[in-house]
C-alpha cells in the first residue's frame, strides 16, 4: 500500500524508522562492541561506546580455550543436515496434502504442529535412555535426527502453504502430457516451488542453529555445537562481559551473516502463506 508522500514526511518517517531499527538492533551492536573491549572497559562507569582501545584479545582467549572451528562445524552439520533431511521428507508430504487434500488434511496438519508442544525437559530421561540403547549419544547423526523431528512439522506446514498457491491446472496439464507422478513432482512442481523451498530451508536452519536444549543435553565432546560453546562462557568466575561478548558474537555471527544475505528469501519464508 506504499504511496507517494511528500519528501518532508518521508524524511520524518526515515528518522523514526531508523531510530526504532537501531533501538531494536542495539543489544546486538552493544555485544559486538563489548567484544572488542578489555574486561575493565566493558564495565566502565559511565559506559564507553566507541572511544576505547579496540582489542582482539578476547577473541584470542576464547579461541585458545575452545576450538571454535569444531563447534562451528558441528552446528553447520546439525543445522544443515537436519533441515535438508527434513525438507526431503516434507516435500512429498506437503505435496500430497496440497494437491490431494482429504477431509482429514487439516487435522493431520494441526496434529503435526501439536507434537511440537511436548515439553522437552519432561522427556529428557526417556530420550536419553533411547539414545544410549541406540548408541547415538554425542553423535551428529543422532542430533540431526532429533532436530529434524522437532522442526519437521514447521517445514511441512510452510511447504504446504507454498504448494497450495501453485495452481492445480498446471499439474493437470503436465499429467495430460503423460508425466508420471514422479516427473510431475520433480520437474513441474519443484521448480515452481523453489523460492518457497529456499525460504523454508533458511528459516529452519535458523531454528535448528538456535536450538539449545537437545543440542546441549545429547552431546559431550564430539558432536557439541555452538550452544555448548556458549555454555562454557556463560558465567565464569571474575569479570566476563567482554569474553562472553566475544563468544556470543562468534556464535551468532555465521547465522546473522547468512540471514542478512538471504534476507529476501527469508522474508518470504516468514510469511507462512499468511498473505494471499
Amino acid at each position: 500500500m506504499a504511496r507517494q508522500v511528500t519528501s518532508k514526511r518521508k524524511a520524518l518517517n526515515t528518522v523514526l524508522a531508523w531510530g526504532i531499527g537501531l533501538l531494536i538492533f542495539f543489544p546486538i551492536l552493544w555485544t559486538i562492541l563489548t567484544s572488542f573491549k578489555t574486561e575493565a572497559q566493558a564495565i566502565n562507569d559511565p559506559p564507553i561506546f566507541l572511544f576505547f582501545d579496540w582489542t582482539l584479545e578476547n577473541y584470542q582467549v576464547v579461541q585458545e580455550r575452545s576450538n571454535y572451528g569444531r563447534f562451528l562445524w558441528n552446528s553447520v552439520i546439525i543445522a544443515g543436515g537436519s533441515t535438508l533431511l527434513g525438507t526431503a521428507i516434507a516435500i512429498p508430504a506437503a505435496w500430497s496434502m496440497a494437491f490431494v487434500p482429504s477431509k482429514r488434511t487439516k487435522d493431520i496438519l494441526l496434529w503435526m504442529l501439536s507434537t511440537k508442544m511436548l515439553p522437552a525437559v519432561g522427556v529428557l530421561y526417556p530420550i536419553y535412555l533411547l539414545f544410549i540403547r541406540m548408541g547415538i549419544l554425542d553423535t551428529r547423526v543422532g542430533l540431526v535426527v532429533v532436530i529434524m523431528l522437532i522442526n519437521l512439522p514447521i517445514i511441512i506446514w510452510m511447504l504446504y502453504t507454498y504448494f497450495k498457491e501453485i495452481p492445480g491446472e498446471i499439474l493437470e496439464a503436465a499429467r495430460m502430457d503423460g508425466a508420471s507422478l514422479k516427473e510431475e513432482v520433480l520437474y513441474v512442481l519443484t521448480p515452481m516451488a523453489v523460492p518457497g523451498i529456499a525460504s523454508t530451508i533458511l528459516l529452519n536452519i535458523i531454528l535448528a542453529w538456535n536450538e539449545a536444549f537437545w543440542t546441549l543435553n545429547l552431546t559431550a565432546a564430539k558432536a557439541a555445537p555452538l550452544t555448548s560453546f556458549i555454555a562454557s562462557y556463560s558465567s565464569p568466575e571474575g569479570l566476563f562481559y567482554a569474553k562472553l561478548s566475544a563468544a556470543s558474537t562468534m556464535a551468532i555471527a555465521p547465522i546473522l551473516i547468512l540471514g542478512w544475505f538471504s534476507q529476501k528469501q527469508l522474508v518470504r519464508g516468514l510469511t507462512f502463506g499468511a498473505v494471499k
Partner: protein, 431 residues
C-alpha cells in the same frame, strides 16, 4: 627420528596389548582453576601420550549434564568434575571407580583429612580433590580503617553488622557487605546453611523432621535479610558467587563472606582494582561454638564402566598431584595454584608467603562435616545435607529465601513455605 622412535614404541605397546594413547573425555566446570588445567593439558599428553577432550560447561549446565549421564549409565565421560555433595551419594550407588590404588608417589595421605573424608564413602576415596575451599571474610582494609574499626581474626556477627553499617556509603556505591542472595542449593543456601549453623539452627532433627519452624531459623533469616537491606548492594537477591566477586573486584563491597578460593582473584592486580587492600578473617560466629563457614571440594571422579579407566586414573594422578601444583606455580605464580587439597602446600614456604594461605587453611580446618551444627543431626555436610533429594528441595527453599530478601514476601512466609515444601519432598523420598 624422534617421531619414528615414538611410533615404534607405540606400536610395540599396542602389540603388547596396552593401550598406548587413549583419548579421554573430561567434563568440567568453567571455573578459573579448571580453565588453567585445560591450558596445561599438553604437559599431561607429553607425559602419558593420552589426549584429552574437554567439555567445559557453566556449573548448572554441567551438573545437569553429568547427573543425567551417570544415572542412566550413558558413558559419555571418562572423568567428571563433581563436588563433596555428589561423591558419597554416587559412590553409594556404585557409580564411581574406587581410587584406592593410587601409587606411592601420589602420596594420598598428603590430602587434607577434611577433604579426604568428604570425598570418601565407607573409608574409600572415590574422587580426588582438585581444589578445596572453605569460606571466610574478605574485607577492604582501607574502608575498615576509615570506619575506625579493626577486624579481629575471628569476629562475631554483631561486629560484622556494626562494621557493615559503618562502611556503607550508598552515594558512592560502596556497600558494607556483599553476600550471596541468588537462589540455589550451591548459592544462597550454601551461605545460609553455613550461617544457620552458627545461629544454632539445622535442616533436620534426629528424626529427619524439617526444622524451619524453629526460632533459630527465624533468627538466622531475619538477621540476614535485615543486614542485607541495610548494608547490601541493590539486587542482591540475584547475586551469586560470580556477581559478588565482580562487585568486590570493582571496589563496591566493604566485606564479602564467600569461598576461600576467591582470595586469589580479589588479590590479583590484573582483575581486581582493590588487590592491595584486602584483608582476611575467619567466618563470623555467634558464640555458640560454630563458625559460619562451609567446606567444599571440586574433585575429579571416574564413572564406573568407562572404557578408559587407566588413562583416566593417570589423568587424575597428574591433575591432583604435587607436581601439578608446582607446574601451575611455575607458570602462573604461587598465588594461583589450586588451593585447599594438600597439606604439603601449606608447609611450602613459597605458599606461606601468599597473604591468604594461612586464613584459608584455618578456615578449612575449622569446618567439620560430621558435626556441622550445635545440636546433633542425622546428616553429613556443613552447607548441604548429603541425601539425593537435597539439591532439589534446597534450591526451592533458596528461592523462597531469595524472594524474602527481595522483599516479595516476609521472612515468616518464606520459612513457612520452606517447611512445607521440605516436608513434602522428604515424604516423597520415603522418609
Amino acid at each position: 627420528m624422534n617421531n619414528a622412535l615414538r611410533a615404534a614404541t607405540a606400536l610395540t605397546l599396542i602389540a603388547a596389548g596396552g593401550a598406548y594413547a587413549d583419548t579421554i573425555t573430561i567434563a568440567t566446570v568453567n571455573n578459573g582453576d579448571m580453565v588453567r588445567m585445560q591450558g596445561l593439558t599438553e604437559d599431561f599428553t607429553k607425559k602419558t601420550g593420552h589426549t584429552v577432550e574437554w567439555v567445559t560447561l557453566e556449573e548448572n549446565v554441567l551438573r545437569q549434564r553429568v547427573t543425567t549421564d551417570i544415572s542412566t549409565n550413558g558413558g559419555q565421560f571418562d572423568i567428571m568434575t563433581i563436588g563433596m555433595y555428589e561423591t558419597p551419594i554416587w559412590a553409594q550407588n556404585g557409580w564411581l571407580v574406587e581410587l584406592d590404588d593410587l601409587p606411592e608417589s601420589y602420596d594420598v595421605d598428603d590430602i587434607l583429612p577434611a577433604m579426604r573424608g568428604g570425598l570418601s564413602y565407607d573409608n574409600t576415596l572415590y574422587a580426588a580433590p582438585f581444589y578445596g575451599e572453605s569460606s571466610m571474610i574478605m574485607y577492604r582494609t582501607d574502608l575498615m580503617e576509615k570506619a575506625g574499626l579493626e577486624m579481629p581474626e575471628s569476629p562475631s556477627w554483631d561486629f560484622i553488622v556494626d562494621a557493615a553499617n559503618k562502611m556503607t556509603d550508598k552515594e558512592n556505591e560502596i556497600y558494607g557487605i556483599c553476600l550471596r542472595g541468588k537462589a540455589g542449593w550451591g548459592e544462597n543456601m550454601a551461605f545460609l546453611t553455613a550461617t544457620s549453623n552458627a545461629f544454632g539452627a539445622r535442616w533436620f532433627d534426629e528424626n529427619w523432621q524439617a526444622q524451619f519452624d524453629t526460632e533459630e531459623w527465624a533468627n538466622t533469616l531475619n538477621f540476614y535479610v535485615d543486614l542485607m537491606t541495610e548494608a547490601g548492594p541493590p539486587g542482591a537477591s540475584n547475586n551469586g558467587f560470580n556477581e559478588n566477586l565482580s562487585l568486590f573486584q570493582q571496589g563496591k563491597c566493604g566485606m564479602w563472606i564467600d569461598a576461600t578460593v576467591a582470595a586469589s582473584f580479589v588479590t590479583n592486580p590484573d582483575d581486581s582494582t582493590v588487590a592491595d587492600k584486602v584483608g582476611f578473617a575467619l567466618a563470623p560466629n555467634t558464640g555458640l561454638g560454630k563458625n559460619s563457614n562451609w567446606l567444599w571440594a571440586w574433585a575429579l571422579a571416574i564413572p564406573a564402566g568407562t572404557d578408559n579407566e587407566d588413562a583416566a586414573k593417570q589423568f587424575i594422578e597428574w591433575a591432583t598431584s604435587k607436581e601439578y601444583i608446582e607446574l601451575v606455580a611455575e607458570n602462573e605464580g604461587w598465588a594461583n595454584v589450586p588451593p585447599g587439597a594438600r597439606k604439603s602446600l601449606y608447609e611450602n614456604e613459597n605458599y606461606q608467603a601468599v597473604p591468604f594461605s594461612d586464613m584459608t587453611l584455618k578456615s578449612i580446618l575449622s569446618a567439620d562435616p560430621l558435626n556441622p551444627t550445635v545440636e546433633s543431626v542425622p546428616y553429613v555436610g556443613v552447607q548441604f545435607v548429603a541425601i539425593p533429594e537435597f539439591a532439589g528441595f534446597a534450591t526451592e527453599v533458596g528461592q523462597e529465601f531469595s524472594a524474602a530478601l527481595a522483599g516479595q514476601q516476609t521472612v515468616e512466609e518464606a520459612l513457612e513455605k520452606a517447611q512445607a515444601l521440605t516436608t513434602d519432598a522428604m515424604e516423597a523420598a520415603g522418609y
